[in-house]
């Protein structure tokens, strides 16, 4: 991995959760880095710390100790405002439960991050149309989330994550609620976006279908990295 290319660097990150009067250590001495354009994923059993790691990388949470640099920002010391700004400009999230905003239409859901960015009307329209074309949902722009199938909803969530062409996309179990066919469609879509946009993708999953698409597999167990290997893609 080219050192200049590194956009995420975690060093000796520890994450403790307060439980009652004590602590639970969810990440232990966690060190890893990701380069630009990677298509990587955390795998491992439930409770191994995948979501915790992803949340810290995504600046939704802060490490208890250690350093975490993401796209030039130090997540350990970043303010709430700066973190929001970082997420707004540079990071796209895809959730297991889609998390579309229920009262907005498909178009408005995809528009939301662009509104936060303060982009002009015409600029937004072009980007939204482009994103919805990529996920193949141009015929659903006026639908509400409740009217979509799971696969369609997740495609909208993907469109919302990629519409601002962020440097980093974090996907936490994106296929857990999808059937086999939809899972493959969505994964192929993400591979395509990874190639076309050059965005870095980091997954958290225990879905073998997702794992088969990853170029780099990081296995976690009990809050530690137990293996970190590239995966050859058969074409």
């Amino acid at each position: 991995m080219n050192q200049n290319n590194v956009i995420i660097q975690l060093e000796n990150v520890v994450k403790d959760y307060r439980i009652g009067s004590g602590y639970f250590r969810a990440l232990k001495d966690f060190s890893i880095s990701f380069g630009h354009g990677e298509f990587a994923g955390f795998i491992g059993p439930s409770g191994s710390g995948k979501t915790t790691a992803l949340n810290i990388i995504g600046s939704l949470d802060q490490p208890s100790s250690g350093t975490c640099l993401v796209l030039g920002e130090n997540i350990s010391t970043i303010s709430h405002r700066q973190a929001a700004n970082l997420r707004n400009h540079q990071i796209g999230f895809i959730f297991q439960t889609y998390n579309l905003l229920p009262v907005y239409t498909v178009y408005e859901n995809v528009e939301f991050p662009l509104l936060l960015l303060g982009l002009s009307d015409t600029g937004r329209k072009k980007m939204i149309t482009e994103a919805l074309e990529m996920v193949g949902l141009t015929d659903k722009i006026d639908s509400r989330p409740a009217q979509l199938s799971g696969g369609q909803a997740q495609r909208v969530a993907i469109a919302r994550a990629i519409v601002k062409k962020p440097a980093l996309i974090l996907a936490d179990e994106p296929t857990a609620n999808l059937d086999v066919k939809n899972s493959h469609n969505i994964l192929e879509l993400m591979v395509k976006l990874n190639r076309e946009l050059g965005s870095t993708f980091v997954f958290s999953t225990h879905d073998p279908k997702v794992i088969s698409y990853l170029q780099r597999i990081i296995r976690l167990e009990d809050g530690r990295i137990v293996s970190d290997q590239p995966q050859k893609q058969e074409l």
């Binding site: 405002r81 929001a84 998390n99 936060l116």
Partner: protein, 391 residues
Amino acid sequence: MLIFRLAFKNIIGAGLRTWLSVLVLSFSYITIIFTQGMYRGMSQQITSAMIATELGDGQYWNSAYDPDELFDLDKANGVLPAEFDPAINSGQAVPILFYPGSIYPQGRLRPVIIKGIPDRQQVLAIPAQFLVVEDPEIVKAVIGERMANSCKLAQGDLVTLRWRDSDGTFDAVDVEIAHIMKTIVPAADQGILWLNLHQLQTMTGLDQSATMIVISPELTRRPDLPGWDFKSVYYLTEEIRAMVKMKSSGAMILYFVLIGLALIAIFDSQVLSIFHRRREMGTMMALGMTRLRLILLFTLEGAMHGVLAMLLAFIYGTPLLIWSIRSGIALPAISSRWGIALSDHLFPHYTIGLIVFTILLVMILVTVVSYLPLRRISRLKPTDALRGKLS
């Protein structure tokens, strides 16, 4: 602006509950504006009628006159000051003599206050021209409609009037009801018998005397007169103002109930938002929204209730208000309950100030109530919110 758009979209997409709150709030707007307009209209209508038929532009009271001490009404008068002769002669002031007496319609005793007024006066809207003396033997009287009804007297009727003259001896005469006048002012109607001033002075032996001098706005000079106290219109209408104020604050209870209902519903839906829409809040934070903007967004969403209610109230309230201004509100039944003789139609008086004040009041209350439950967002962690957990 973005926050406004988002808040508007959120509330428009919200359900029946929201619209119920909006409906109740719009009722509150209309009720407050309508009833307060009515009280103002009522106060205005009564005041202007009192000025026209009773108060003029102020009154000089003989120092012996005390409206709360009617037992000594026969002594509540004094010889008119000569300084007032020019004003009285030129029609800029009118002397009125009050005297106690009783009439016997259908043989039943009925105490009255006899008010003597010159037959040629222009200051008050009392039809004194009916009191012109053609035959000194005949005493003519003008009474109000309510008085006529309660005594069952009609125009042309004769009724016996008894009074005690200045020597203390009783006198009696049959007076002819020359005219029945319509007025909403009780002081000119109920228990009042209007006679010609000169005739009353002669009957009572109180030549050149009066109880009060009512002045017209044309008389700009208000000199100090020993033995006579000037009472301004403001002073004389104090009771009316106090009464309208009391009535209108009585209506506050209704406002509290209406606004309270809506506020409780809004508060409730904001509390529910904190619980049910945490994941939505977490998602917005993940997309790059700060907590501060999130609080702003949800506060504004709550405040939108007030805005929508305003629009709704505008849609159905405007025709209502315009109709009430144009044709007035028929109030024959209500007027007696009010203790004031109102005319058949009440014309409400709405002011921009009243409308703006009402809107501001409701908007501020709605905004505060919307904000209060949201304070805990300032401690909400994005990860907890996304998990649907409350920190």
